[in-house]
């Protein structure tokens, strides 16, 4: 285990911090499953935090002048470069502390919130550079699987078959034709100390992962499955139900990679069929049985791969239970 995590007990529903880094009155849609993990992450990090946000829904809903929903110092610069803005902040903190110009005994967390477009697509180079340079920061990708802020256009994170406004379910081509980019694979290839997947339907697990990411020295990355009732065509009250099904169908497995070691946090031994997950979302309603079968097959394969990784590069399983 990383020495930084030695004294970390973990959150439970009983010992949650009262602190909120994100304020009410934000303009996220009803049932937004993207702002929820953002709120939870800030709750886990506490007030000694500086946040950077990429252009996207979370930036828009949190900062229409003169209002801000941020209780922590916050900066938005552009779409693609949040990881590098965070690099600059982290370097500044380091230099200023060393030179005695910044007096702070506690560690200041530097955290990035960026959507899938900002991470998988336009910002991948910036992310790669920041991970490679080893800055001590946390990058949280809130992946709602398309460019929601601009009106639901496809991204490299959009799953196979999904209808978006630029991968429409047409008469000939039925939705997204490519498989979701393996971002975790890319991130893990940078040999960073901590990478994890998380999901707001498992809020305590998510908060614990954010806290671990903050405690560990060096770059940490959390790929958060984030739902979007508006873009996906789900009922707002189903936002977290869909999120839960993503784990239970093995579509989005929960795991950590600590120093290259894979740990599956929730093994799904008896997965539900993916169709159950797909049918709740209007973006998949055009899918043919063949397409659904293909998705099922790929999901099985990907999960098998993950099991193998955990087997080859893992530690004895320590399953966490969500309360």
């Amino acid at each position: 285990m990383r020495p930084e995590l030695k004294n970390f007990k973990g959150f439970t529903l009983k010992n949650l911090p009262e602190y909120e880094g994100f304020a009410q009155g934000h303009r996220a849609c009803q049932g937004c499953g993207t702002v929820l993990p953002l709120r939870l992450a800030l709750k886990a990090l506490g007030p000694n935090t500086i946040a950077v946000t990429a252009t996207g829904c979370m930036e828009i809903v949190s900062s229409p002048f003169p209002y801000t929903s941020w209780n922590v110092p916050w900066i938005h610069v552009a779409f693609e470069n949040s990881a590098t803005v965070a690099s600059g902040i982290e370097a500044a903190i380091k230099a200023l502390k060393r030179k005695g110009k910044l007096k702070s005994k506690e560690k200041i967390n530097v955290v990035v919130f960026a959507g899938d477009g900002a991470t998988f697509d336009i910002g991948l180079q910036w992310l790669s550079g920041a991970l490679e340079r080893g800055h001590d920061f946390i990058y949280i990708c809130l992946d709602n699987e398309a460019y929601m802020n601009t009106g639901v256009q496809r991204s490299g994170a959009t799953p196979f078959g999904a209808h978006t406004t630029t991968s429409p379910a047409g008469k000939v081509v039925k939705g997204q034709t490519t498989w979701k980019k393996n971002l975790m694979g890319i991130v893990v290839a940078h040999n960073i100390p901590y990478a994890a997947t998380a999901n707001p339907a498992f809020p305590i697990d998510l908060m614990n992962k954010v806290k671990k990411a903050a405690l560990i020295n060096g770059p940490a990355f959390i790929h958060v499955y984030a739902t979007c009732p508006t873009g996906w065509g789900t009922k707002s009250e189903d936002s977290l139900l869909v999120a839960k099904l993503a784990v239970e169908t093995r579509v989005f497995p929960l795991y950590e990679v600590i120093d290259g070691k894979y740990i599956i946090n929730r093994k799904v031994d008896k997965p539900k069929p993916v169709e159950e997950y797909l049918k709740l979302q209007r973006r998949f309603r055009h899918l043919t049985p063949e397409q659904i079968a293909y998705i099922q097959e790929r999901v099985n394969q990907e999960y098998e791969k993950l099991l193998k990784l955990a087997e080859c590069f893992g530690e004895p399983q320590t399953e966490q239970k969500e309360e």
Partner: protein, 97 residues
Amino acid sequence: MPKDQGLMGWKELAPGMYILEPGNSKKFKTGDWRAFRPVLDKEKCIKCGMCYILCPDICYQQDQDGFFICNLFYCKGCGICAANCPKKAITMVLEEE
């Protein structure tokens, strides 16, 4: 074009249009986005706090008796609390009723 659509004079702005007051969006009411309102059945409630932790709009706060109460100034009526309450203690009721 109608003149003077500005929110405030340019001299009143902090440099770079920074917002100096943290979390001031809490002055902004989002409760009027709501068509349905969550109603808590205190008989069924076990005070687990699931509604509190899962609310995207940070509406729930614990009262003196330990119940988590929804702040309707902010509640957008998404229904996540009702859908995820382990005891089905929350029901969504049409605002008009």
